[in-house]
């Protein structure tokens, strides 16, 4: 749509070539080439962990690249801090805002600057910021305090902060993730008015329709490497992008025994729930899981997966809909009654939710059955029984720990996950909800965890596997649901990665089918 403009103004503002960034154990960026033209919106597309944010953090001076070169306005640069980057005109608006809630908009924008020096002269700066806001259509009251503002307005303050510091390259890290639909429209208008005035924008996202909407060109990253560099958005279809984003590599299949599928264990109908901020996170989820099968739930992070797992376990209130386990209504029952019903949850966050870091291994493995015989005994916890139980689990699950009295905070990620799995599996669950069970683990530990899940399946448990690792889902699951913005987009039986990719970015299964016919 901006072909004309692109042909006339092809001044390259930023050029990154062969940029690599390595973190312990991960190659986050592998020889990435990226360039940004004046006055364009350049989308950076990729799954979680594809290396989008890392690449832009390198450009914004948060990280230093391990290899490659960056030029800004044809000048070779090597930023040591965000301050140096902003001096070169590059500013980043992060997903999590960095604002002081009790201070006004103007005060937040001026924070950390050399001017004003001593007296704040607030009215004068208020006017200045108002003019700037007017210029780019970023409507916000400079005198308002941050806590009074909506999330969308706070984002505008972050943008103003960068513009005030003289940024002409603006990096937006998943700017729509926190916004309501109407605010997204407004943001897009702002972005357009900024590019019209010569600013260049990098738009990081994993939502295809937004990328199609706003960007002039798009670069796709997959596992740290570029799969498509700077193609004009007008030249590609959503399906193309989905394929480039998800990839098509050979999936490592795990030996799965044939297990007879049993009765329905979990059935969820029209489940609705809100997230912490009170915004709808689940908008009518329907799914079911039978005994003896692993059902995968695919989706990009933040589309309602964690809310779903919490609602099923009784940790979050269901606002509407029904959760049935073995035909019994367990909607909004207490966590404890869920545990008694045989619902077990392997939480996404091992240290924040799954364990008590300063308590011993013993205290951590008895978390779900401390009040049940034989460990619970009257009012007491039978410490001999608890100790035996912990020793047994330590041996069975091969938990590497000097003694069962060791605090779990001293355990490695893999061992911590074994503690959690040992606890959850040994309760002999009927329904197991595993959220990101292999995240952050090394290869050996991943295999161990996957083996445990398959054993559970063979012993007839129903398993809901929630993961962002598509490969893992494909190799473990019997069926896969795809969730997007709190709704199930469809169900895939044959592991068709193209379909999953499109559904993950917001296309319904029915829509894909009709596209195929046409």
């Amino acid at each position: 749509m901006n072909q004309e403009k692109l042909s006339t103004e092809t001044e390259i503002v930023v050029r990154m070539s062969g940029v690599s960034k390595r973190f312990p154990g991960v190659l986050a960026n592998d020889q990435v080439d990226f360039d940004l033209r004046k006055g364009e919106v350049h989308a950076l597309l990729g799954e979680n962990g594809a290396g989008k944010s890392t690449l832009m953090n390198v450009l914004a001076g948060m990280y230093r690249a391990d290899g490659g070169t960056i030029t800004v306005h044809d000048q070779l640069v090597d930023f040591g801090s965000p301050r140096e980057a902003i001096e070169a005109g590059i500013g980043m608006v992060h997903q999590h805002f960095m604002l002081v809630p009790s201070q006004s908009v103007t005060e937040n924008i001026l924070l950390g600057l050399d001017e004003p020096r001593f007296r704040m002269h607030l009215p004068q700066y208020n006017r200045k910021i108002e003019q700037m806001a007017e210029q780019y259509g970023l409507h916000v009251d400079p005198a308002a305090r941050i806590w009074q503002l909506t999330v969308g307005e706070q984002q505008r303050v972050e943008i103003l902060k960068m513009l005030y510091r003289g940024a002409d390259v603006l990096i937006m890290d998943e700017p729509t993730a926190v916004l309501a639909p109407s605010e997204i429209d407004e943001l897009f208008n702002t972005l357009r008015s900024m590019t019209a005035q010569g600013k260049s924008i990098v738009f990081i996202s994993h939502k295809l329709h937004e990328v199609m909407d706003i960007s002039d060109r798009v670069t796709v990253l997959q596992k740290g490497a570029v799969t498509s560099s700077g193609v004009p958005t007008a030249d590609v279809t959503r399906a193309d992008l989905a394929r480039m984003m998800v990839g098509r590599e050979v999936v490592f299949r795990i030996d799965k025994k044939d297990v007879e599928i049993g009765d329905v264990v979990l059935s969820v109908e029209g489940l609705k729930a809100d997230n912490e901020k009170g915004l709808p996170a689940l908008r009518g989820v329907d799914l079911n899981v039978h005994a003896g099968e692993i059902v995968g739930l695919a989706g990009v992070a933040g589309n309602g997966q964690s809310e779903l797992s919490e609602t099923l376990a009784g940790l979050r209130e269901a606002l509407d809909g029904k959760v049935m386990v073995h035909g019994e209504d367990v909607t909004n029952k207490s966590v404890k009654s869920g545990i008694r019903q045989g619902i077990s949850l392997v939480p996404a966050d091992r240290t924040l939710v799954g364990t008590a870091p300063n308590l011993s291994v013993t205290d951590n493995v008895i978390m779900k059955n401390y009040d049940q015989s034989p460990i619970g005994h009257g009012w007491m916890v039978n410490s001999t029984e608890a100790g035996n139980y912990a020793t047994e689990l330590k041996d069975d699950y091969d938990i590497m720990v000097p003694t069962i009295d060791t605090s779990v905070r001293l355990l490695s990620g893999g061992n911590l996950q074994k503690v959690i799995l040992a606890r959850e599996i040994s309760s002999d669950p009927k329904l197991m909800i595993a959220v990101q069970p292999t995240r952050g683990l090394d290869v050996g530990a991943i295999e161990g965890v996957q083996k445990l899940l398959l054993e559970q399946r063979e012993s007839g448990a129903a398993i809901l596997l929630i993961s962002e690792e598509l490969e893992e889902l494909l190799s473990l699951s019997d069926r896969i649901y795809v969730i997007y913005e709190g709704e199930i987009m469809g169900e895939v039986l044959d592991g068709d990665i193209d379909k999953i990719g499109q559904m993950m970015t917001g296309t319904r299964l029915e829509q894909i089918d009709t596209q195929g016919d046409a």
Partner: protein, 377 residues
């Protein structure tokens, strides 16, 4: 490590050893934490000594004096115990709440309410004046603990229901409690216009060792009262609850990671209210035993800040109920015999330095300091 090394290489002067500080990768040995408490006390005593010396006094004489007047004879030991009893009970109250990371700063007010609850039995009166002693003791215990529990319930409920910060609410309720008592001693139960109630009749007093003086001469004149028994029983029960019971497990789980507790199906709200009530009841029992064992009347200024000292005691005892007993005796001595040195200055200073040293010493629980000789490098 690099920091210290760099500094040292920068200056030409080299120490004959290098100091490395790194995070611990294993649990410190069991004796390590109590040892830090002892070091904190010794450190505080040294600072106190320095101040005494700067003030022109003789620190070692002063300390010898304190020791003699707190532990020197059975008589003064008994007086030390009398001072220690309320400290033990408020120390237990704080330990329980702190185990759940519930910052009950209100033991002082709960102490006052406990004193009120006990006095009420005599002064209202709930029981006739000539009721038997055992009945008085039992009803006063119940009433004192109930009123303390009530004073704990209010901030606990506010925290559970409306997420009101318990530090602020418990602290503020201390002032209400003191003024509540003042109202009764100034207006309702004032004796002849003085700001105190009448003396309780003897059958409302807690038994003391000296009561046995007629039969066992050794106990003659010893003021230690039955409150000591209450405190020891309470410490043992509390230890049992925390270490052995399911409720104690829930408290420890919530204290360490509330989100994990919630995930394990433990109700945090219920436990916040229950723990605050039991904590308040223990502080209330302290007030009751002080009133019926020592003061024998309701009056103002029955506590020289026991409730706040209880906070320090709880920390120094590392929230271990049995250690609270020992630490309280030490503090009883400091308060009692410290007055021999100076009514307020030095003993309070020592308490303050102890708490600062203790908080700072947590650093050594988390980090390992290793000193290696240069030669070995």
């Amino acid at each position: 490590m690099t920091d210290t090394d760099m500094k040292k290489s920068a200056s030409r002067f080299k120490l004959p050893f290098s100091v490395k500080i790194e995070p611990r990768v294993d649990d410190p040995p069991k004796w390590f934490s109590p040892m830090l408490s002892v070091i904190a006390v010794v450190f505080a005593l040294l600072i106190g000594a320095l101040v005494i010396w700067l003030g022109g006094g003789e620190p070692w004489k002063a300390y010898a004096h304190i020791a003699r007047y707190s532990f020197g004879s059975v008589g003064v030991l008994s007086d030390t115990m009398v001072k220690a009893i309320p400290l033990m009970l408020v120390g237990l109250a704080c330990s329980l709440a702190f185990r759940m990371k519930l910052w009950n700063i209100g033991a002082e007010g709960q102490f006052y309410l406990g004193a009120f609850g006990a006095s009420m039995i005599v002064l209202l009166p709930v029981l006739p004046e000539d009721a038997p002693k055992w009945l008085f003791i039992i009803t006063m215990i119940i009433s004192g603990m109930l009123f303390g529990a009530l004073w704990g319930f209010i901030p606990g409920f506010l925290k559970a229901k409306y997420n009101v910060n318990e530090i602020i609410s418990t602290l503020m309720m201390n002032y209400i409690a003191i003024e509540w008592n003042n109202y009764f001693i100034y207006a309702v139960w004032s004796e002849g216009g003085f700001q105190m109630s009448r003396m309780f009749q003897r059958n409302a007093w807690l038994p003391r060792f000296s009561d046995l003086g007629k039969t066992i001469p050794f106990f003659r004149g010893l003021t230690t009262h039955m409150g000591l028994l209450f405190a020891i029983i309470a410490a043992v029960i509390l230890w049992w609850i925390l270490a052995k019971s399911q409720w104690g497990y829930e408290i420890r789980l919530i204290g360490d990671n509330p989100r994990a507790a919630e995930y394990a199906g433990v109700s945090i709200k219920k436990n916040v209210v229950l723990v605050m009530m039991l904590s308040g009841a223990l502080a209330g029992l302290a007030g009751m035993s002080e009133i019926t064992g020592v003061v024998h009347r309701l009056q103002g200024a029955i506590s020289p800040g026991y409730g706040y000292t209880g906070i320090i005691i709880a920390w120094l005892a590392k929230l271990n109920p049995l250690a609270v007993i020992l630490v309280s005796i030490l503090f009883g001595a400091l308060i009692l015999a410290g007055r021999e040195v100076q009514p307020s200055g030095i003993p309070t200073l020592i308490q303050g330095v102890i708490i600062v040293a203790l908080i700072a010493s947590d650093y050594f629980l988390r980090n390992r300091v290793s000193i290696t000789r240069r030669m070995e490098e």
